[in-house]
Amino acid sequence: MLALFYIFIAVAIGVSFWQITRILNFRTVIATDKDNDKQGKYFLWFTAFLYAMMIYCLIFMNVIMLPESASIEGEHDDNLFNITFILIGIVQFIMQFLLFYFAYKYRGKKENKALFYADSHKLEAIWTITPAVVLVVLIGYGLWQWNNIMDLSDAEDPLVVEVYSKQFIWEARYAGDDNSLGRGNVNYIEGANTMGVDMSDLNAQDDKKVSAIEPILYLPKGRKIVFKFRSQDVLHSAYMPHFRAQMNCVPGMVTEFGFTPKFTTDEMRLQSEVVEKTAVINKIRSEKGEDPYEFDYILLCNKICGASHYAMQMKIVVLEQEEFNKWYAEQPTLGEQLAVN
């Protein structure tokens, strides 16, 4: 069966080569005025195709894009993104138009003469300075926002959470009542101590680990979360797209990221973009006979980490502060958990 398939492919390619030599005259090689005219017009048609596709994507694919930022810090990301996107959209429309329109307008004719026009310092100055000025704005806003996100030194009473990655599981632990995480190292991994926490460190005793049975990362709304990331085997990347958050998890090193959740999971489910997107997804799912989907925040792995990279995830649930505190108080400390074992 397979041999037949190989033969079929070989024959198909062979026949197409043979047909091409038969049909085509390999003497027609240089563009004539007729070709120039035709191809010039095709460029105009292509412009129409390209514009149609761009507009279609911009309008109809809007619904598949991520909803508005669910973190306070991410608001400026969305702003900056919109500014940048509008800008590049405008430039894209103009540049493609000029390019293809000129290709059409100046398509060659025997009797035409091209204009000998080699240089214009004025024009060149314009298109050096204009992008430079625009870039100053983008760079300025971008860098301000970058510092805004990455500088975690001024966070007041943040909730410290360690996110721990390994092939192909996410784990997490909260810093406990002292809000300071106990040391961790792969040498301490043993039995139930899957995150390699050094239990001789006094800070470690009150740490609270996310349940392995129902791995959900609960976070309070409106409080700054400072994440510390570790990995025990290969590189992973903690990607929380709804919060505009991402940081690599690097073996042998602790990395950091922080944000403040802005909507609880329940509030986010009612947000109009989310409602719309969920409806689209559920229509697709019902056609395939699958269970309906309900919006949830998610932590996914975004750095290639092995065969099951595509399945590595953890659910995130954002609660109101009081609800979170209540839930948090009920959780056993790491000291209690490991003592039981």
């Binding site: 991520l66 390019l99 060659g108 000998f116 240089d119 992008p131 971008g142 025990q232 799912r285």
Partner: protein, 589 residues
């Protein structure tokens, strides 16, 4: 080097040739062979992405033990993605593009008999050939080829326990790359020395065609950055085989703590991207150089802003070596470094914009000859603009956080370096085919090839930006584990259909290429009425390029449609070979 014919045997003429023209053909054929493999792999994994875990006879036929009943395994999916990237970036777009055209054009366009060292040039090709062979062999080792992504970040690439491809396959990958780098360095040094020393009388640096400038600067970036990848590869080889800890530390895998202490994967990332980013321009600049030449010739106009073009090539080259960190904004490096890299990265937009505007201005009021090479060059400018603009999102560290490693990145770099460079390479092949083989390619097939390629390139990569903005990570075997991505499934199908169309369309090119070598119309000496020196050599290749004396150059390469005050062509035609002396009172431009 002399202009009389040596006695040549079959082996010295076709295999171990030291003639730059033959070596360039060897690079091109090897590049095309690797390109077929690379593109075919992308079609296989696109099938998996559009119809996850469906059975396909073609997958059963080609993936052998790495599939069951025609469904590809996740491991081999990652291997295909990895090898597709490696082959396309290094073997096709570095060696296949730069190797082919630098070799063909440098001696011909500057008026030299051959490269400075014909022997080293031959060594460069054969090292490339050897590395290609090793890379192809790695596809057939038992646990599969390297599969940690084309960037092969450790620890994944260092630990066979983490992914099967990090066994023998990865060792072969590193050996292949080390040999490849040696090939590339020897080639680049040769190009630089040749351009510096062997320019013919009158060929000042400022009279060289822009292709020469592009190849020259490309070779310099290659020499500056490739050695760093070599050291990264060697250190990784040491970590893997000899137990050193350059990139590894504190690892617990499969129930045991490994001995590695004190290394950092971030160090590897720095070393890799110190080459990796300049590599983008090693791929792109030759394509832009080719485009400059093709657009000027076929517009029958001088390239607009010759000096600005040289300046922007230099600016891009310089900036390209100090922006590598924009691949690492979320790697855990100091955020202050991120700020610096954002700044330098966005600066690249300025010289890039100058280049794009200058191409468009060159078209303005031209007399455009729509030869296939011209179409591909116009296509290149289009994809370069589309892909380049989204760089403003990715280069901005704050925005990169959320699109990093998503399909938005995949769409961006495929358009701006993949598609653009490959369109430039096609433009070069169509334009210089007469010089390489003494035959012409068929134009009708060229047109079909262009339009199908162009439509499918946009069909694949334009919608891909939006699935990236949906947050879909790259290198996922399937996204069916995430209901939130169910709505991108249809888009993936469309993308795959365009990818298949684009891949299959390349058969038109292959047919045109190989049939034309044998059945194409005999080329005339200067088929495109071009100004540059390569069109003053005889159609039939001779060793030493020019019979008799080397040509003397009297003007720059772009005196197209030069008219006197009465509006008549000064030299009677709309082109003037560089070898034609200035007339009395002619402005030397």
């Amino acid at each position: 080097m002399s202009d009389h014919h040596h006695k040549e045997t079959f082996v010295t003429k076709y295999i171990f040739s030291q003639d730059h023209k033959m070596i360039s053909k060897q690079f091109l054929i090897t590049g095309i062979f690797m390109g077929v493999i690379g593109v075919f792999m992308s079609m296989l994994f696109r099938l998996q992405l559009a119809w996850p875990e469906k059975s396909f006879t073609i997958i059963e036929a080609f993936l052998g033990p790495h599939q069951s009943d025609g469904v590809m395994s996740p491991d081999i999916y990652l291997a295909l993605v990895t090898i597709h990237g490696t082959i396309m970036v290094f073997f096709v777009l570095t060696a296949g593009l730069s190797g082919t055209f630098s070799n063909l054009l440098i001696p011909l366009q500057i008026g030299a008999r051959d490269m400075a060292s014909g022997f080293l040039n031959m060594v460069s090709y054969w090292l490339f050939f050897l590395s290609s062979i090793i890379m192809v062999i790695s596809l057939f080792v038992e646990a599969g080829p390297a599969s940690a992504g084309w960037t092969v970040y450790p620890p994944l690439s260092a630990l066979p326990q983490a992914i099967p491809g990090s066994g023998t396959g990865m060792t072969l990958w590193l050996v292949s790359m080390a040999i490849f780098i040696a090939s590339s360095l020897i080639g680049s040094l040769n190009y630089i020395v040749t351009i510096f020393n062997l320019r013919t009388k009158g060929m000042k640096m400022t009279r060289m065609p822009l292709t020469m400038w592009a190849f020259f600067i490309t070779a310099i970036i290659g020499v500056v950055s490739f050695p760093v990848l070599l050291s990264a590869s060697l250190l990784l080889l040491f970590d893997r085989s000899f137990g050193t800890s350059f990139f590894l530390s504190d690892i617990f895998i499969q129930g045991e703590v490994l001995h590695y202490q004190g290394g950092s994967p971030v160090l590897y990332e720095h070393l890799f991207w110190f080459l990796g980013h300049p590599e983008v321009y090693i791929v792109l600049l030759p394509a832009l150089g080719i485009t400059s030449e093709v657009i000027a010739t076929n517009s029958r106009k001088p390239i607009f802003g010759y000096r600005a073009m040289i300046g922007s090539i230099m600016a891009i080259a310089f900036l390209s070596t100090i922006v590598w960190g924009h691949h690492m904004f979320v790697s855990g490096m100091n955020p202050f470094l991120g700020s610096v890299f954002t700044f330098t990265t966005l600066l690249i937009a300025i010289p890039s914009a100058v280049k794009a505007f200058n191409y468009i201005t060159t078209l303005w009021k031209g007399n455009l000859q729509m030869n296939p090479a011209m179409l591909f060059s116009i296509g290149l400018v289009s994809t370069f603009v589309t892909g380049g603009l989204t760089g403003l999102v990715l280069g901005d560290s704050a925005l990169d956080i959320n699109v990093h490693d998503t399909y938005f990145v995949v769409a961006h770099f495929h358009l701006v370096m993949g598609v653009s460079a490959i369109l430039g390479m096609f433009a070069g092949v169509y334009h210089w085919f007469p010089k390489m083989y003494g035959k012409m390619m068929n134009k009708t097939l060229g047109y079909w090839h262009f339009w199908l390629t162009m439509i499918s390139a946009y069909g694949v990569f334009f919608p891909m930006h939006f699935i990236g903005l949906a947050g879909l990570p790259r290198r996922y075997y399937t996204n069916t584990n995430f209901p939130m991505f169910d709505d991108v499934a249809d888009v993936n199908v469309v993308i795959t259909l365009f990818a298949i169309l684009g891949g299959v369309s390349q058969i038109i090119f292959l047919a045109n290429f190989f049939i034309s070598i044998y059945r194409g119309k005999a080329a005339t000496q200067n088929p495109w009425n071009s100004n540059t020196l390569e069109w003053t050599t005889p159609v039939e290749h001779i060793h030493g390029n020019w019979p008799g004396k080397l040509p003397e150059v009297h003007r720059w390469a772009y005196d197209y449609s030069k008219v006197d005050e009465n509006g008549e062509y000064i030299h009677g035609e709309d082109f003037v070979l560089q070898t034609v002396p200035l007339k009395d009172g002619e402005d030397p431009s």
